[in-house]
């Protein structure tokens, strides 16, 4: 959590935009997304399906499917090196070594025809140039690190012989093999049950404390974010609409979308029966990016939409690392303007 001055962030993303060509038309999937993460920090990226969370992750890995996709603007600085300008072979050297990723589905993200040890050793062989036996020995150590029981035996297990939680641990071991500076976790616990979810978060935190890994946690679950993240960015339709520390965003959300998202969280009340009420929802659906949006992407669903929302608001910085992309946050706004 050392985001203080003088500490250069490990990862800086600046004005990142990704375009997809769909039926000969350019569609902007990510618009001007920017954030930074310091060593040992966890940044939660939250949003609903299709808001650009996973595309952000793929951009960081340099794995935007191309064609049809393309990073059209922006910079991704990892330890000061611009990944957008890196060659494919340079990117291959960086992937797995400096930045790595855990995927959503532990059931499908391991290759069924190789033992888990073999797959972990693959990363080690590739990036550290160790021989087969040494790499396998290191794989055993990694399995121990992620608390897999009897690691020297599990190393020769095939993925289908392991449970979902175990597989996710194996994925984490793979991702951590070369002690990356940044670990991207794309919905790492969505496919797991709640107990295992808590264990995986504990594990990630433990590793982060020990190694100072920066974690980008991508999720649609505010619960996961509030458990793990130091800072949060909220995404909607490819825009970063709000950024702040966990407390700022959860206690003092400024963007109507974030406020709506927080209201949608079910609460467990002591005497639920007395105050039974339907779970609030945000009316409407995510806009179709194909239709070409002008103005604020959330305007059509926003309870406080006004005339100005026909124009895309800039990101208003309220404080360092605290920003809201909404006209409501515009301090210079005419005080008389009323929500329509």
């Amino acid at each position: 959590m050392n985001t203080g001055a003088g500490d250069r962030p490990v990862l800086e993303v600046d004005g990142l935009s990704v375009d997809f060509t769909v039926r000969k038309r350019q569609v902007r999937i990510l618009s001007d997304v920017g954030f930074s993460i310091g060593r040992g920090e966890t940044l939660g990226i939250i949003g609903e399906s299709g808001c650009g969370k996973s595309m952000t992750a793929l951009s960081l890995m340099g794995m935007v499917p191309s064609p049809p996709g393309r990073i059209s603007a922006g910079r991704i600085l990892l330890n000061g090196e611009d990944l957008c300008a890196a060659s494919e072979s340079r990117m291959r050297a960086i992937r797995g070594r400096n930045i790595s990723m855990i995927f959503q589905e532990p059931m499908t993200s391991l290759n069924p025809v190789y033992t888990v040890g073999n797959q972990i050793a693959e990363t080690i062989r590739r990036h550290k140039g160790l021989s087969g036996a040494d790499a396998l020995a290191e794989a055993v150590d990694l399995l121990r690190l992620v608390h897999i029981p009897a690691p020297d035996k599990r190393v020769s297990a095939y993925p289908h012989e392991l449970s979902g939680g175990m597989r996710q641990r194996v994925m984490i071991a793979m991702a951590l093999a070369c002690e990356p500076d940044v670990l991207i976790a794309d919905e790492p616990t969505t496919a797991l049950d709640v107990t295992v979810q808590a264990q995986i978060f504990d594990l990630l935190r433990e590793i982060q404390d020990a190694r100072g890994t920066a974690i980008v946690l991508i999720t649609h679950d505010f619960g996961a974010v509030s458990e793990m993240a130091d800072r949060v960015i909220v995404m909607y339709a490819g825009h970063k609409i709000e950024e702040g520390s966990l407390d700022e965003v959860s206690d003092d959300a400024r963007h109507p979308y974030t406020q709506g998202l927080l209201r949608c969280m079910p609460e467990i009340r002591a005497r639920a029966r007395e105050r039974r009420q339907p779970l609030p929802e945000i009316p409407g659906v995510v806009p179709d990016l194909l239709k070409g949006l002008t103005g604020c992407p959330f305007a059509s669903r926003c309870p406080s939409a006004m005339d100005r929302c026909r124009e895309l608001p800039p990101s208003f910085a309220l404080a360092p690392q605290r920003a809201v992309k909404c006209w409501l946050a515009d301090a210079s706004a005419a005080p008389g303007e009323q929500p329509a």
Binding site: R92, M101, T108, V113, T115, R126, A150, S156, M174
Partner: protein, 299 residues
């Protein structure tokens, strides 16, 4: 719940099978040898190979020599009878084993190399490369393979190698399409993305990640292809487009086909030999597939 049920609950054991360190090739071999059909296939194919290797030395008869009356039924002197020219069917089969197997295996190998490479590259890269390779594949598909093979043999001359090349060049398309389809399916799976995310290069992704996962249907296709190759060679022989000095099973069937009702033996025995060989290869392929499939281990 009841006390009577209690003893039936097995005690929890912590020394699970993973306790025994697994030596992989040994497990694979054990799986393979546990498969009786596959072992039978190996045994019979080995016997056929031995006949191919040593048969001509033991039975030094000329398969083209006329040794008796045409269409003699199997009997004491000629165990498998004679064909329509009075040539010994047994001698033909034994001397035909080696060339038949060589043509079948090398033409299949040729087919596999072309088909797998084209299909893998097309399926993996997609886009323009896929488009180009698939149009080429279709070009080969719309040509009647036999006519195409005839043209190749006619241009290059009726040599043994020409026949192998002609069969290989005309029959790789199915395998290419199958490989491409498998690759298209598998490359969408998340572990391919995960392997990319640890910096695995394309060539390794194709050979070590996608190909092993695509193998099961391909092995079946290849074993069937081997049988087809023998048939193709027979068709070319029938048209007189193979090396006239070399006897093969296919050639025997092709030449004696019209005499099936007068001399069933001249067609049936080489036909059975082809069937047996193809079946053995299919059984072995099946056994290998099961043995290499980690999911079936411990069954």
């Amino acid at each position: 719940m009841s006390e009577a049920q209690e003893p039936t609950v097995p005690p929890v054991r912590f020394d699970d099978p993973a306790d025994v360190p697994e030596v992989r090739w040994r497990v694979t071999a054990a799986m393979f040898y546990g498969n009786k059909a596959a072992v039978l296939g190996i045994a019979v194919l080995a016997a056929i190979l031995l006949v191919g290797l040593f048969g001509p030395l033991l039975l030094q008869a000329d398969p083209f020599a006329i040794v008796g009356a045409p269409l003699t039924a199997p009997g004491e002197l000629r165990p498998l009878g004679t064909d329509y020219l009075g040539r010994d069917v047994l001698a033909g089969m034994i001397h035909g084993t080696r060339p038949t197997l060589i043509v079948a295996l090398s033409a299949t190998a040729f087919t596999v190399v072309i088909g797998l490479s084209v299909g893998a590259v097309a399926g993996f890269y997609g886009g323009r490369i896929d488009n180009l390779l698939m149009r080429i594949t279709e070009f080969f598909q719309v040509l009647p393979p036999l006519v195409f093979a005839m043209v190749i043999v006619a241009i290059m001359g009726a040599h043994f190698m020409t026949v192998i090349i002609a069969i290989g060049v005309t029959t790789w398309t199915n395998l290419a399409r199958l490989t491409r389809a498998e690759f298209l399916k598998i490359k969408e799976r998340e572990f391919v993305l995960a392997d990319r995310a640890i910096g695995v290069r394309d060539s390794r992704l194709i050979l070590r990640v996608l190909l092993p996962n695509a193998l099961p249907p391909l092995i079946i296709a290849v074993t069937l292809q081997t049988g087809l190759t023998i048939i193709y060679e027979a068709a070319l022989s029938f048209l007189g487009l193979t090396d006239p000095d070399i006897m093969t099973w296919g050639k025997m069937i092709g030449l004696s086909r019209d005499f099936f009702f007068d001399a069933w033996w001249s067609v049936t025995f080489p036909g059975l030999a082809i069937l047996l060989t193809t079946l053995c290869i299919a059984l072995i392929g099946d056994g290998l597939n099961d043995a290499f499939n980690p999911r079936l281990r411990g069954r």
